[in-house]
Amino acid sequence: MSRALRRFGRVTEPLAPGPPTADGPPELVRSLQLRHVDAGSCNGCELEIVSAFGPVYDAERFGARLVASPRHADGVLVTGPVTQNMAVPLLRTVEATPRPRVVIAVGDCARDCGVFAGGYGVVGAVGDVVEVDTSIPGCPPHPTAIVEALRGITRR
């Protein structure tokens, strides 16, 4: 009865207990603030990220949170292939993040340019511009995959 009362109004999907394989610096266990950078994506991955931090998939319960400034962040979530105009801003954003930091490439475009490989406006994948710690495959990746990747860093 008390469990039903506690679950009243909650729409979050429960996930499997226990963290997946350990990944990421030890300081960021249980607390991970992320700054999102759109390096040239089609916004499909953005929608999935929004959903991942929304009520249904709720990544915040595992200690992750989106913040406004890379100075406040521990990591950078990058979506999309890196375009000409976004190469330097992406580099600066990652450099502005204090260490220890992680760079997470979200989606196929961020991993290997996806469908935009070879385009005239594309410099390369995120890994060609900055050092990537974790990547999440998918076009776009399922919000659960995004949450599992974040859990891997926060180990919750």
Partner: protein
């Protein structure tokens, strides 16, 4: 050596300093005059301290110096307090002037007139008769007028500022003289002692007239709205030691005049007098702080801030008079104490700010905030001192401005429950005015420090600035040290203030008990512990710093570029300017400020659809000057131009005028006789 001799010797030394400024050769002119002037300040200061310590006034007569009227010196504790106030600003200003002069501003005029100006400031509170007072007052006005012109005399703004100053100061002096004459005529003597003695027997209408004339006359010198328009023009144009004295000391003498006439001579008055003072004070405080928040020039900002602080002092004075008129002597004395403390604090802080601004102007070549920036790194000591002084003027604890504001608030707070309708209405509005002023002063000075000293330099002058000579830094440092000391240990200044108040307003007990280092109100519930507060803050700051260092894994900071959203270029032009910083305030108060905006679009000759240039001009000028004074000036000018028709240059016409006037006078004499 008694106090009277000290006063006279000080005056002689001061005049000697003026002569030294003319007579000595170029290299030692300023320093020689400065040394003599310090001697004069020291002597006057010692005399003042003696008077405050004993509580007895010093009276001297001489019928030889001024023909017909004679000179009378009367140094009461109230006057002594103001002498000390002047000396407090004068000594560092003179020191600052030595450094200033080394950079080519040591003209003979300035070196001669400056000591005479300071001497007249020191002597005005010692005047004991109308003639003495007016001679010294006019001397003060004329010498300051000359000094306004001495810096950049060729510039049109300086000359315009000087003419506004001259007109308003002479107008004020005329009103003061009329007030003295009315009072003296009814009292049968021109000495202050005689006038004070007879003032109680005067008709209320006469007393009211004298008070109003004195309020307007001294108020214009003090920079009270709406007679303040000369202040933001004249103070920025004068060299900064002179500005420091004008803003710190001369303005305080305006308040001294009002206290002298209202309390000491006339012995208090009906409620409407003090409501008028309160209203003028509230309007000045709000207007001054609002314009300070909208100014983009540092010195103009400081000048408007002077109007603001004088407004606060008048708030305290008005409250004090109101409580005296409604028979609450303890509250009245508390209000008067607040007035004097506010003026003393203002002298120290404004002096420091103007001297520091002068240092900045000398180092960078500009006082426009939009051309400064990054000065805290290039001029570390001056910048740090300006920061502390700015914190003091906004009233932040544990500095001296806070003590004055606390006293003012306490006097208003305890006066809220007196049960008199006038006070019941006035007190909450006065508190609201005090609060809004405090908030807007924060805006003004965060702007001054943030835009002027922090961030990146906005011009080459600011980029290449170097620290000023030691004398100038020392001068500012002395005044800032006074601010800190009086803030942490107000027990050093309060007994002197108490003594001055008690003898100025007879029949009033003491309002404060400097209980050890605490400030405790007598008969009311209110205690302030500034020393413990300062100590607690210092301990807390050190403690938190130690804690941060011990908890951080990597305590040394790595230097990086500022975060600019990943932008590739970050220049000084991307920072906030003074205008943009004040824009929210301007927008909220645009009915009062009425900024003037002008947009000029030039099209290419061939086509109206292609724009060649766009010019946007935005200025916040003084609404009272624009709305009140300029129409008057326009009317006077039109009358003058119409009167030119009377002077066509024909000798026949002039002879005709003479004949006509003679006929009229003869006819009038015939009718009377």
């Amino acid at each position: 050596m008694n106090a009277g001799t000290l006063v006279v010797t000080g005056a002689v030394l001061g005049l000697g300093a003026g002569i030294a400024g003319v007579a000595l050769p170029h290299r030692s002119r300023v320093t020689g005059a400065a040394v003599l002037l310090w001697g004069a300040c020291a002597l006057e200061g010692v005399a003042a301290v003696h008077v405050l310590a004993t509580g007895h006034a010093v009276v001297l007569h001489s019928s030889t110096i001024l023909p017909l009227t004679g000179v009378e010196v009367m140094l009461s504790p109230l006057g002594a307090f103001f002498v000390l106030l002047v000396a407090l600003v004068a000594v560092p200003a003179t020191l600052h002037g030595i450094g200033y002069a080394r950079h080519g501003l040591a003209s003979r005029t300035a070196a001669c007139v400056f000591p005479i100006f300071v001497t007249s400031l020191l002597l005005v509170p010692t005047a004991g008769s109308v003639a003495t007072f007016m001679v010294l007052w006019e001397l003060m006005a004329l010498t300051s007028l000359l000094l306004v012109l001495v810096g950049h005399g060729r510039r049109a703004e300086a000359r315009s500022a000087a003419s506004w100053y001259a007109v308003l100061t002479q107008g004020g002096a005329a009103l003061i003289l009329i007030a003295w004459l009315v009072l003296a005529a009814h009292s049968g003597g021109q000495s202050f002692a005689a006038m004070g003695h007879h003032a109680r027997h005067l008709a209320p209408a006469v007393r009211g007239l004298v008070f109003v004339l004195a309020l307007i006359g001294f108020g214009s010198k003090a920079g009270v709205v709406p007679f303040h328009v000369w202040l933001p023009k004249a103070h920025p144009e004068a060299p900064s030691p002179v500005s420091a004295l004008m803003s710190g000391a001369m303005v305080a003498l305006g308040v001294y005049g009002i206290v002298l006439v209202g309390d000491a001579l006339l012995g208090g008055g009906p409620v409407w007098w003090w409501l008028a003072v309160l209203a003028l004070g509230a309007v000045s405080a709000l207007f001054g702080s609002l314009h300070a928040a909208s100014s983009t020039d540092v010195k103009r900002l400081l000048a408007y801030s002077t109007t603001d602080n004088v407004g606060l002092a008048l708030l305290a004075l008005g409250a004090s008079g109101l409580f005296a008129a409604t028979r609450h002597p303890v509250l009245a004395s508390l209000g008067l104490v607040a007035t004097l403390v506010l003026m003393l604090n203002h002298a120290a802080v404004k002096g420091a700010l103007f001297l520091a601004a002068g240092s900045v102007q000398m180092a960078t070549g500009s006082s426009d905030l939009d051309r400064l920036g990054g000065l805290l790194r290039r001029m570390p000591q001056t910048g740090a001192l300006f920061l502390v002084a700015a914190a003091a003027i906004t009233g932040l604890p544990p500095l001296n401005g806070f003590i004055g504001e606390w006293l003012l608030f306490q006097s208003l707070l305890h006066g809220a429950a007196t049960g008199n309708t006038a006070t019941d209405v006035a007190v909450p509005l006065a508190v609201a005015a005090l609060a809004l002023t405090a908030g807007l002063t924060v805006v003004a000075f965060v702007k001054a420090v943030g835009i002027g000293f922090l961030g990146r330099p906005r011009s080459q002058g600011a980029d290449e600035a170097v620290e000023v000579p030691v004398t100038m830094r020392l001068a500012v440092g002395l005044l800032v040290a006074v601010c800190v000391v009086f803030g942490v240990v107000p027990a050093l200044e309060l007994p002197a203030v108490e003594r001055a108040v008690r003898t100025a307003v007879p029949g009033v007990g003491s309002a404060l008990l400097a209980h050890g280092v605490d400030v405790q109100l007598v008969g009311l519930r209110g205690v302030l512990a500034p020393t413990e507060l300062a100590g607690a803050m210092a301990v807390a700051v050190v403690g938190v710093m130690v804690l941060r260092r011990s908890l951080s894994r990597r305590p040394t900071a790595r230097v990086v570029d500022a975060w600019g959203c990943g932008r590739q270029l970050q220049t000084a032009r991307m920072q906030y300017t003074a205008t943009s910083f004040a824009e929210p305030v301007q927008r909220v108060f645009d009915d009062v400020l009425r900024p003037v905006q002008d947009l000029d679009v030039t099209h290419v000759a061939e086509s109206r659809y292609v724009i060649e240039a766009v010019t946007f001009h935005n200025a916040v000028d003084d609404a009272i000057e624009r709305g009140l004074y300029r129409p008057v000036v326009r009317v006077v000018r039109r009358c003058g131009q119409a009167a030119r028709a009377l002077q066509p240059g024909s000798v026949h016409r002039y002879l005709g005028y003479g004949l006509g006037a003679l006929v009229i006078v003869l006819a009038a004499l015939a009718m009377i006789g």
